[in-house]
Symmetry: C2
Subunit: 191 residues, 2 copies
């Protein structure tokens, strides 16, 4: 950030009097420009036969890799509305929402992932504009080596673990970037 | 938003080609300025004797009203780090985190509240810079009529409800503004 989005003056990085960290401040109109992490919301969609709906990305990053439908929450939305909208946009699927399943912090990109469990409503799905294809996968067919993001890997892994234990929990954790392309999940308390 | 924070040119509200909603776009440097909801993280802190830690706000909005320690998540933080930092800043309390307790969407102010259950570590607490006082309350002493926000009211209410049932769940819901000063919780699935 170099210019004030309210008045166009040059901003400076300074710590406000009643604050404890530097912010972009406009001396001209006195606006303090706060920057905060963003929420990514998405759905783990289960079909009637237990298979899971994955989309193959038609956009960067991770073009061609498989993902669960998910994307940035928009102004005016709830997290569930965002998850349902992304599922409709990316996988052309209407779903019944079962509940929150995973909250992952990604501090290296300032994102908070919120993934919900859901069930495919009418059996129909398809490739939206941001997807090359959409398809249902049984557990032994999941393309584990071709998943787009570590958030997707851990969501699927925890889902099958919970399923084996006969109980779905709410999982929290931090996905920490170790080095380029290597990430580690540090699990928080599951509830 | 009126000016591009990257180059200072005037921005226009337009829908980008591959998008479906208007964004502030800079024709000069081609930056698309996305705006997204913010996360508020906080702690419900239980002392050894079961009493709950509340702070009386020394800042607007809701100066003088009681709240749980909570505030905006910062860049580079996890939700838990944000909740612990706010608890230290507002209530001078160090806590042991037990787990996620409530996720409330507030679409009228573009916020997502994430409240965690926690226990006071060493019995010490105090009024931070943004608090007039901090104090422990038993259930029958909670100042229900003087709580700062409906998020705080519902967090405390659901906490005591869960406690009476002998089990803490993760609660989700949307807090909808009905009219000035009147809000309603539309509960989502509890897990
Ligand atoms: Zn300005
Ligand atoms: Zn620009």
């Amino acid at each position: 950030m170099k210019y004030c989005s309210q008045c166009g003056a040059v901003v400076a990085l300074k710590t406000p009097p009643a604050d404890n960290r530097p912010r972009y401040i406009c001396d001209s109109c006195e606006t303090i420009h706060y920057q905060n992490p963003k929420v990514v919301a998405g759905c783990l969609v289960e079909a009637n036969d237990g298979r899971i709906l994955l989309c193959r990305r038609a956009i960067e990053p991770r073009y061609g890799y498989w993902t669960l439908p998910a994307g940035f929450m928009e102004l005016g939305e709830t997290t569930i509305e965002a998850a349902l909208r992304e599922t409709l946009e990316e996988a052309e699927a209407r779903v019944q929402l079962d509940g929150l399943f995973a909250v992952f912090n990604l501090p290296h990109v300032d994102q908070v992932y919120m993934m919900f469990r859901s069930r495919l409503l009418d059996g129909r799905f398809g490739a939206g504009d941001e997807s090359l294809e959409a398809s249902l996968f049984s557990q032994d067919a999941i393309p584990w080596q071709e998943l787009a993001f570590s958030t997707i890997y851990h969501t699927l892994r925890l889902y099958y673990e919970d399923q084996a234990h006969g109980r779905y929990r709410v999982h929290t954790g931090d996905i920490i970037k170790l080095d380029e392309g290597r990430y580690e999940l540090r699990s928080g308390p599951a509830v």
